[in-house]
Symmetry: C2
Subunit: 147 residues, 2 copies
Amino acid sequence: MDSLLKRINLEIAAIGGKRSRSRAQVIEVFFRTGPHATLEDLTHAVRKRNRSVGYATVYRTMKLLAKLGYAKELDFGDGPKRYESNLESHHDHLVCQECGLVSEFQEPRIESLQEQVAKQHGFLPTMHRLDIYGLCRQCALAGKKEN
Amino acid sequence: MDSLLKRINLEIAAIGGKRSRSRAQVIEVFFRTGPHATLEDLTHAVRKRNRSVGYATVYRTMKLLAKLGYAKELDFGDGPKRYESNLESHHDHLVCQECGLVSEFQEPRIESLQEQVAKQHGFLPTMHRLDIYGLCRQCALAGKKEN
DNA sequence: CTATACTATGATAATGATTTTCAAATTCAC
DNA sequence: GTGAATTTGAAAATCATTATCATAGTATAG
Ligand SMILES: [Mn+2]
Ligand SMILES: [Mn+2]
Ligand SMILES: [Zn+2]
Ligand SMILES: [Zn+2]
């Protein structure tokens, strides 16, 4: 974690930035917090440590992390964007429309088929987003019982 | 087209709604317009026929069509939502980050792998969204020439 | 250490898109 | 037609994101 922060600060310096306490706190909270957190989630979490950190700083820090490739912005179509670490390996998402639960999966065969599709279209892919919406196990069972 | 409108009006009546001229015009324009249109696009198109139709009516009509399953809302992460007919067969999208071109593809093997993934997680899927972002053929070639 | 030149910050305002409100118009069953 | 209902257009409200700006903090040179 400390070495990660150091590495990030180096990259920030490399593009003409300076370090800052607030930003370091945001970064640390982000990597310690569970995945799929909103800016509001992160702001609250940071403020537990340092009451004076503003929403704008969280916003700017997350944009910065996204630009540097350390964070990913997710949008599940409902409320505000969510953020997750980009250090873990790539995965896609199952989103429960009932309870909001977001779970993750990897399926290399889907990934490679996507590459094929892109190639067939002369398309140069840089990223993709695959979200499957529906009912998680819990909510699916709850729904069945009702009938 | 006329029979489609009739069918939709029946469904509207079934949920306690009434018909209306403006709404019929919006619906007709929607199904005649190319895919991936924004509310603004649709509003402009409708107004060419009937100056007095308001944005709110287009908004409400598209929400209604989406609820009834005739339209799909798309969000490619940049500007406003886009709408497409849900009468055609299912497909996913390739979105060019340079010129905005949106093209479509079908890949049954991806579809069935998604089913498998969902099943493995005890997840009951209702829909999914797969968008591949990158450079379309044109923009990819233009980019190469620059180097 | 101090001055100075810069970046980062927090509060607030601006923006952009979506959604709601409300009085007036339209539809429809009687 | 009449009356109870839904629908409408314009405008306002909401919501998330992004920009602005005066102040605070950071790095660097002397
Ligand atoms: Mn995830
Ligand atoms: Mn499409
Ligand atoms: Zn659930
Ligand atoms: Zn392109």
